[in-house]
Structures are given as structure tokens and as C-alpha cells.
């Protein structure tokens, strides 16, 4: 007779994932936090092109983990000082011209952020993909991993499906595709211009393509990322938000 005690090690062996197995959640998380790290300071040039106008914004930003994020427009002059604070699930805008802070209401979270093709929801929900979606390795080729993210039944999400295309062997993102409820691809983000930043390799350019409007796009070009910034939670307050540059 074999006792149950004798079987226990075998049982554990079957349950635990092999050490060499790919941690999909970790991979997606690393993509979503590549620009923020533990904490960071960055400077970005955002070029927006729409059917009706085209403009370029210069911004600086601070972030702490995946929950805190503050950005401020430096140029052009007309919008200089307009700032956004994201703390946990909330987004505030500060308008220096009228010296007012505005909290984005839940119903407007799907709206455009600073006129770009990035929504307020992207600021809040992007960093939660590994929590709100069920991840699955859809395909693995010599050069790529294709990770499929389907919403968890209980999660409140925006997309019907998200596909991460990650390059081998450095595990850097190449593109992310966003699908609506009907499973048509409606938006794609491309990453390129990989450069070393400190010890890491980071794609310094991010292009957002709204596929329904082929002539429109938003390009985010990271001009500087400093992962050494010493920031605390206190920094990400409405008081900091209202500080004029």
C-alpha cells in the first residue's frame, strides 16, 4: 500500500508550473510599465494628426509604479501648464488659464486625452491588463510571442480582446492590437526605435493608430526617461497638480 503522504511530493510537482515556463502576466506587465518602472521622470513629444488639425505637444511626466502618474504640457504656449494627474482609478486635469482642477467623470473616461488618440481609460486601465484579462499564449514563432488577452467575466473592460506581439529574445513589445466587442481590430499601437536607457532597452517611439481613421495617428516620442527619480506618493497630489510651472 502506498500512503497518501508518500504521494504528496508528486502532487506538488504536478501543480506547480515549471520554472522555465513563460510568465505571461509578468511579460504583459513589463510592457505596460516599461516607461514608468518603479518611479520615473520622462520627457515626451506627442505628435497628433487628425482629419482636421495637426499639432505637437511637449510634455514632462512623473510616475510611481503603475498607479500614479502626473504629466504637464510644456509647449505650445497656449496649452502650457495643462496637467493631468492619475491616481489609482481617477484622472484629474488642471487648467492653469482658469486655475481649476477638473476630475474626469466616469462617463467621460472613454474620451480623448489631450486631443490625442489615447483615452483617459487607457491611462487608468492600460496598466491593469494582466488583472482584468485572462492571458493565453496564442502563438509562438522563432521571433515572436503572440499573447491573447480575453476579458475576465467579472471585469469591467473597454476592449473585447487585446493582442500583444512580443519580440524574441529581448522580450520587447512590437505591437499591441485592440479589438472591440465584435472582434474587429480598432486600434493598434506600434513600438520601435529601441534604445538603451540605463540598464534596459526601451522602444522610444510609440505610434497609436486608430484603424477606423487611417489618416489619423498619435506618436509619442520619449526624449528622456530617468528611472532614478526619487518620488513618493505625496508627490502625486492635487497640490502638486496645481503648481504652476
Amino acid at each position: 500500500m502506498i500512503s497518501s503522504v508518500q504521494l504528496l511530493p508528486l502532487f506538488f510537482l504536478l501543480l506547480s508550473t515549471p520554472a522555465w515556463a513563460l510568465d505571461l502576466a509578468e511579460l504583459v506587465r513589463s510592457v505596460e510599465t516599461q516607461y514608468s518602472g518603479e518611479s520615473s521622470y520622462s520627457r515626451v513629444r506627442m505628435e497628433i494628426r487628425t482629419e482636421h488639425w495637426q499639432r505637437s505637444l511637449e510634455m514632462e511626466g512623473w510616475s510611481l509604479g503603475r498607479d500614479y502618474f502626473l504629466t504637464r504640457i510644456l509647449a505650445p504656449d497656449k496649452d502650457r501648464g495643462v496637467s493631468t494627474l492619475k491616481a489609482q482609478q481617477d484622472v484629474w486635469n488642471y487648467l492653469p488659464k482658469v486655475d481649476r482642477v477638473m476630475k474626469i467623470p466616469a462617463s467621460m473616461m472613454g474620451g480623448s486625452w489631450m486631443g490625442s488618440h489615447i483615452t483617459n481609460d487607457d491611462l487608468v486601465k492600460g496598466s491593469r491588463v494582466d488583472l482584468d484579462y485572462e492571458l493565453r499564449l496564442l502563438e509562438e514563432s522563432k521571433k515572436h510571442y503572440l499573447i491573447e488577452c480575453l476579458p475576465r467575466p467579472e471585469a469591467v473592460v473597454v476592449w473585447g480582446k487585446v493582442l500583444y506581439r512580443i519580440k524574441k529574445p529581448d522580450l520587447l513589445p512590437e505591437s499591441i492590437s485592440y479589438f472591440d466587442e465584435e472582434m474587429t481590430e480598432v486600434r493598434r499601437i506600434l513600438f520601435d526605435d529601441v534604445q538603451p536607457v540605463g540598464a534596459r532597452m526601451i522602444p522610444m517611439r510609440l505610434t497609436v493608430l486608430p484603424l477606423e481613421k487611417p489618416q489619423e495617428q498619435t506618436i509619442m516620442r520619449y526624449e528622456k526617461i530617468d528611472y532614478g527619480a526619487e518620488l513618493t506618493r505625496d508627490f502625486f497630489s492635487l497640490r502638486t497638480l496645481q503648481k504652476r510651472p
Binding site: 495637426q54 499639432r55 488659464k97 482658469v98 482642477v101 477638473m102 476630475k103 467623470p105 480623448s112 486631443g115
Partner: protein, 413 residues
């Protein structure tokens, strides 16, 4: 001769004829009054609905009504506006510009619709900006600081009142972040809760500057004399706009408010149902009267046949009696009906002590009985009454013409 005989026959059993006449006159006049009140109610609803926001006709770019995109604007052209105002039937015109954005007082920002208007022009089309519960109307001159009128629900959700400063933020047409402070000048209540929860009225010129849309408009709201004529005027204007090559489209209130149009269209059916119900009772009464009268006169009709009157003439005589009864009822019923409607039109009955305003098909039914005149409301009851009388007379007339003279004369009188 047949006519005088028919008239005298009517006068024969005076009480019975009078009673029948009473029934027809009362049903005809009350029907006219009821339809007048019904129409009055619908006119109230229609007026409250169109006067609340849209007006009767809206001229805009063809895509604008559906997309409401900031960029579907057109350049203000005073010549077009003058031409429209000269068009027969059009009594008012209001140029408008619209923006969607966030409005905040303290911290809670709310999504709102900002409608840029010229207050006096708007007053020629709708009651927007006039039904104030607090504060005062927008100043067309526009002071140093931009001012805003906001809906009652919006005010309470913002926690703001007259004199408070609100911040507004939106995306301007050049992509910049349009934002400015607005001082609340007044708080309005249109009666439509949805609108009161998210509408704010601002001076047109201020909004143009904020949106970086100089000289632009999103729509021209028009008011017409008779709302029922709006579709016809729209068709004429469509031709005119096409000739002028303005690439502008025009919608009438029926297209803007389909539920309202349905409610009005349903009235035609309701009117028919009301007429049919009331007149079938009246018609049966008339039928009964004429059958009795024919049966009582069996012997006499036999004599008429014996003397050589043809059955067709006998039938015509009875039908003439019915026609005369119908004509007398029609004249009296219509006159009394018009008089009652006129009274209800001028005086009306205020029910506000008993009933609160009811919302129906997006409009508000005022708590009052008030009649309006509509040709069909008088013509239909009158003409159908005549038809009912003839129909009610037809069967007895046929019976009379089929009598066998020998048998009829034998009948004991």
C-alpha cells in the same frame, strides 16, 4: 315636391324628430369640442416640445444632426438668413453653435452640451433661456465676463447657483484645449429633465472664440407660423437651398422628434375611432327612428304607390327625410360645436389645482383644457354625420320602396 313632403313628414312626429335631432346635434357638437380640446392638447405638447429646444425646422450640414461633430459647421451668411426670414410662413430664426465638454464648479466635472446663441434671436424661435427659475436672462451685449444659463438639474448636480463661476473645458477646433470661466447668470427649467440636466446656454460669440471657430455656425433653428406646415416649408426650402448650392440640409420637427410626429399621426386614428364610436350610437338611434316612422306609415306609403308613385321615388323621399335631418343636425351641431370650441379656445379650463403637468412623447401636456381650431376637426364630424344620417335612412327607405301596395293598404292604420 318630394322635398316639401319629406320636410313635412319630419315635422309630423315633432317630439320624436326633436329627440333624434337633439341626439345628433349633441353628439356632433360635443365631438367637435372634444376634437378641438384634443387638438389643443396636442398643440400644447407640440409647442412645448419644439419650443423647448429644436424649433420647427433646423438647417445644418447634412451630417451634423447625426454626428454632431464640431467640424460639421458652416460659415454664417446673413444673406441666407434674410432670405429664410423672408420666406412665407417663417417667423423666427436663431443661429446656433454647439459644443460638448466638461463643466465643473468645485471638483465634480459634468459632461454638458453648451449651446451658443444670440439671446434675442433665440427668443424668436424657442423659449430657451426664458423659463428662468432664478437669475436673469442672458445679456445679448455680453459683459466683460462670459455668462451662462444652466439647467436646473445641472445646477443642483454641480452644487452651483447664480453668481458662481464655472469652468468649462472642451477640445477646440484646432486641437487645443479650450477652457474658460463662466459666471452663472440664470438657471432655467425647460420641463424636460434630461435637457435640464445637461444643457447650458452661452453667448454665441464667446463660444466661437473658445472653439476657435470664427464666423461658424452649426445650425439655424427656425420657427414657422403653423407647425403642421413645417414639412411643406421644409420641402420648399430644400429646393431653395439646393439652388443656392449651400450644401446645407434641413430637417423638420417631425424628423427631429419622431415620437412627437407619431403622437400627432396617431391623432388622426384616434379622431376616427372617436367619431366612429360616437356616431355608431347616434346612427343606430337615427335608424330606429326612421324604421319606426316607415312602419307607422306603411298604409300611407301603400297609397302613394297605388297612386302611381314609383318605388324609387318613395325611396328618395325617405332618404330626403334623412338628408334633411342630417343637414339640420349638421348646421346646428357645427354651429354649437364651433361656439363651444371658441369658448374653450378663449376661456379654457384651468386644471392645475387638480392635475400636475404630464410628459407625453417628449412634450408637456399643460394642466388645462384648451381647444384649438383645426379644419378637419369640424369638417370630419360634420360630413360624417351627414353620411351616417343617409346610411341610417337607407335601410328604412329600401324597406319602404319594397312594400307591396295591396298588403300595405290592407294594413290596419
Amino acid at each position: 315636391m318630394l322635398a316639401s313632403l319629406a320636410l313635412r313628414n319630419l315635422g309630423r312626429n315633432r317630439r320624436r324628430t326633436l329627440l333624434t335631432l337633439c341626439a345628433t346635434v349633441v353628439s356632433c357638437s360635443l365631438l367637435i369640442l372634444a376634437l378641438g380640446i384634443f387638438s389643443g392638447m396636442l398643440a400644447d405638447i407640440l409647442d412645448s416640445t419644439t419650443g423647448q429646444y429644436h424649433g420647427h425646422l433646423v438647417v445644418s450640414s447634412p451630417q451634423y444632426p447625426e454626428r454632431r461633430s464640431l467640424y460639421d459647421s458652416f460659415e454664417e451668411d446673413l444673406k441666407t438668413q434674410e432670405a429664410l426670414l423672408r420666406h412665407p410662413g417663417i417667423t423666427g430664426l436663431s443661429p446656433r453653435l454647439r459644443a460638448f465638454g466638461l463643466l465643473s464648479f468645485t471638483r465634480a466635472a459634468l459632461p454638458v452640451e453648451l449651446l451658443g446663441i444670440r439671446p434675442q434671436r433665440e427668443a424668436s424661435v424657442t423659449r430657451l433661456g426664458q423659463q428662468l427659475v432664478r437669475g436673469s436672462r442672458l445679456d445679448s451685449a455680453g459683459g466683460a465676463q462670459p455668462e451662462v444659463l444652466i439647467g436646473e438639474g445641472l445646477a443642483s448636480r454641480l452644487g452651483a447657483t447664480v453668481g458662481d463661476e464655472l469652468a468649462f473645458m472642451t477640445q477646440a477646433a484646432d486641437g487645443s484645449i479650450g477652457n474658460d470661466l463662466l459666471r452663472i447668470r440664470g438657471i432655467f427649467s425647460t420641463g424636460d429633465r434630461n435637457r435640464d440636466n445637461q444643457l447650458a446656454l452661452v453667448p454665441l460669440d464667446w463660444l466661437r472664440e473658445l472653439l476657435v471657430l470664427p464666423d461658424a455656425l452649426h445650425e439655424l433653428a427656425l420657427r414657422v407660423d403653423d407647425p403642421m406646415e413645417a414639412p411643406a416649408i421644409r420641402q420648399r426650402l430644400e429646393g431653395q437651398l439646393a439652388d443656392a448650392d449651400t450644401s446645407l440640409a434641413i430637417l423638420d420637427w417631425g424628423q427631429l422628434l419622431p415620437t412627437m410626429r407619431e403622437a400627432i399621426a396617431n391623432f388622426d386614428v384616434s379622431r376616427m375611432i372617436l367619431i366612429i364610436i360616437l356616431y355608431s350610437a347616434t346612427g343606430l338611434g337615427i335608424l330606429n327612428t326612421f324604421f319606426m316612422s316607415v312602419i307607422e306609415r306603411t298604409r300611407e306609403i301603400g297609397i302613394l304607390l297605388a297612386m302611381g308613385m314609383t318605388p324609387a321615388r318613395v325611396r328618395r323621399m325617405i332618404l330626403l327625410e334623412a338628408l334633411f335631418l342630417g343637414l339640420i343636425s349638421l348646421v346646428l351641431g357645427t354651429l354649437i360645436g364651433i361656439a363651444l370650441t371658441a369658448w374653450m379656445h378663449q376661456v379654457g379650463i384651468d386644471l392645475s389645482d387638480w392635475i400636475t403637468p404630464v410628459t407625453y412623447a417628449g412634450g408637456t401636456i399643460a394642466p388645462r383644457l384648451h381647444a384649438t381650431f383645426e379644419t378637419a376637426n369640424i369638417l370630419m364630424p360634420a360630413l360624417i354625420l351627414l353620411g351616417v344620417c343617409l346610411l341610417a335612412g337607407y335601410f328604412p327607405a329600401r324597406r319602404a320602396s319594397k312594400l307591396q301596395p295591396a298588403l300595405a293598404i290592407r294594413e290596419d292604420a
